[in-house]
């Protein structure tokens, strides 16, 4: 099979598998094979999600959660790129920090959250810092990889053309490092999203994560599943868009 046909076939089978799973769950719930107190049918989840989205309260939660995620993501990208560039520029610093960078992801960053709450109080601040702590290292590591990947011949071209430092950065370094940088941004977004929503879920007074845990604690399963579906759909869509864009970036690079 040619690769394009093969990819299409895999896509179709994938959609069929997912659709089949949803239908199976629906049937199992309707037929009473699954305890209705544990899982509700997917069609009810969708209905509940649409009801929830219309309410004023949910509107505030949505704005709050996504502004927190956006703030954490933007700060992580800015800070991570700057740190990455600084560490790349000083080889000794890099050698010293290498063990730290290699083991950072093994630390469950989330355990810092109670300390952050104690330090900054309950609210948006500890969530932003938590998102920042989990997302920044991914950007730092991908910035290092991106800068390492700029081929020396390109830098020589820049010198031969007598480009200024700023021109070298915008015309040579950034385009060459972009694919790697971008995959760091992609990771940063999903880490910021996971961190913020997990923080809201465990300990906070507002936001989507809090709304889900509140609905669970007040035995309102219908609301809980509606909200869950919404959060998961947003996460999958955001990641899917970045994934597709990354693929395009990689293909364009392969062509040139």
């Amino acid at each position: 099979m040619p690769p394009d046909r093969r990819r299409l076939a895999a896509l179709l089978v994938r959609v069929a598998v997912l659709a089949g799973a949803v239908l199976l769950l629906e049937a199992a719930c309707r037929a009473g094979w699954i305890d209705p107190l544990a899982v509700i049918p997917p069609s009810d989840m969708v209905a509940s999600m649409l009801e929830q989205l219309g309410t004023e309260e949910m509107h505030d939660n949505i704005v709050q959660t996504f502004s927190t995620i956006a703030l954490a993501f933007v700060l992580a990208v800015g800070l991570g790129t700057l740190l990455g560039a600084a560490i790349h520029a000083v080889p000794r610093l890099r050698r010293a920090l290498d063990p730290l960078l290699a083991s950072y992801y093994s630390v469950p960053t989330f355990v810092f959250y109670p300390l952050l709450v104690a330090m900054l109080g309950l609210g948006q601040a500890p969530l932003v810092v938590l998102g920042l702590l989990s997302a920044t290292p991914a950007v730092v590591i991908s910035t290092l990889a991106g800068l390492d990947g700029v081929s020396p011949v390109l830098l020589k071209v820049a010198r031969v053309q007598r480009l200024s430092r700023a021109r070298t950065l915008t015309a040579i370094v950034l385009p060459a490092a972009m694919p790697r940088l971008f995959s760091g941004f992609k990771l940063a977004l999903s880490y910021a999203l996971i961190g913020v929503i997990a923080g809201e879920f465990i300990l906070s007074g507002s936001g989507l994560g809090y709304a889900i845990s509140f609905a669970y604690q007040s035995f309102d399963n219908r609301a809980m599943y509606g909200l869950m579906l919404f959060v998961l759909l947003v996460a999958v869509t955001a990641n899917g868009l970045l994934y597709a864009y990354e693929g395009r970036l990689a293909r364009r690079r392969a062509r040139s």
Binding site: L37, V107, F112
Partner: protein, 260 residues
């Protein structure tokens, strides 16, 4: 993913000294920052390193601490073992059956990036309060990275190795033992490292949300009782344990790569 490769040129003596000194310097900077943060918040939000160590020295003498630490370790080891075995099996099957792998990989990768914490209530509803929910949540976190890394390793196996195995008429079992597993081992160890970190995260989040036992519970409990030293000490224990385990696994991965 991590482990930025360093040039292996033999460094001059001053650089060799720096290689030993610099990480110590980094450690000192971290401790100084920690200390400064502790002093700045005046012990309300964060205990200083020295206070934490003193408190920890008392804490490890109480059976209460070992009860909680044991609960976390038990749940975590079970979750990690299940993630490793199931992930290796699944990754092997999906790597060998190319089409199934192509169908499954984006689904798994999508699952990897969603905030799974929102699904924890479902896990609680299905498994009930107790150790099984924690373990299930740990497996939900740890299974996917092990599967994806194994799948990638098997799929990217150089075709020449497969052909050699066929030319030498190895049986399926022999081919697996002497070709497939050794060739995939470095990637598999990488996947296990990430699975290790994430299944620990899953277990801890489960304990923090609704549990009466475990280190995650102690963390939240310390916050609720305004016992800053307890929270700081538990964070210190978890972070140190995770970093040590990760360093060991990194070493293991490197020594395997060197042998080949």
């Amino acid at each position: 993913m991590s482990g930025v490769a360093l040039p292996t040129r033999r460094p001059p003596r001053s650089a060799a000294l720096g290689r030993v000194l610099d990480p110590l310097l980094v450690l000192a900077v971290i401790l100084a920052l920690w200390d400064a943060a502790g002093r700045w918040t005046q012990g309300i939000a964060l205990a200083t390193p020295w206070e934490t160590l003193l408190y920890l020295a008392d804490l490890v003498r109480t059976p209460m601490f070992w009860g909680h630490a044991g609960a976390t370790m038990g749940a975590f080891l079970l979750a990690f073992a299940l993630s490793a075995v199931l992930g290796l099996g699944l990754g092997l099957i999906l790597g060998l059956r190319r089409f199934a792998g192509e169908v499954a990989e984006p689904i798994l990768a999508g699952f990897y990036t969603i905030p799974k914490v929102t699904l924890y209530p479902v896990v609680l509803l299905l498994f009930g309060l107790g150790i099984s929910a924690k373990v299930a949540f740990g497996v939900m976190h740890g299974l996917v990275p092990v599967t994806l890394f194994t799948l990638g390793a098997v799929r990217n196996l150089p075709p020449v190795l497969v052909r050699t195995a066929r030319v030498m008429r190895l049986s399926a079992g022999q081919a697996m033992r002497s070709v497939l597993i050794p060739a995939c081992l470095p990637d598999i160890v990488g996947g296990l490292r990430i699975g290790f970190a994430l299944s620990l995260l899953g277990v801890l989040i489960g304990e923090m949300f609704s549990s009466q036992r475990g280190l995650g519970f102690l963390l939240v409990n310390g916050l609720a009782q305004h016992n800053v030293r307890l929270t700081t000490a538990v964070v210190f224990v978890i972070v140190t344990g995770a970093v040590l385990a990760n360093t060991l696994m990194l070493r293991l991965g490197r020594s395997i790569t060197h042998q080949q």
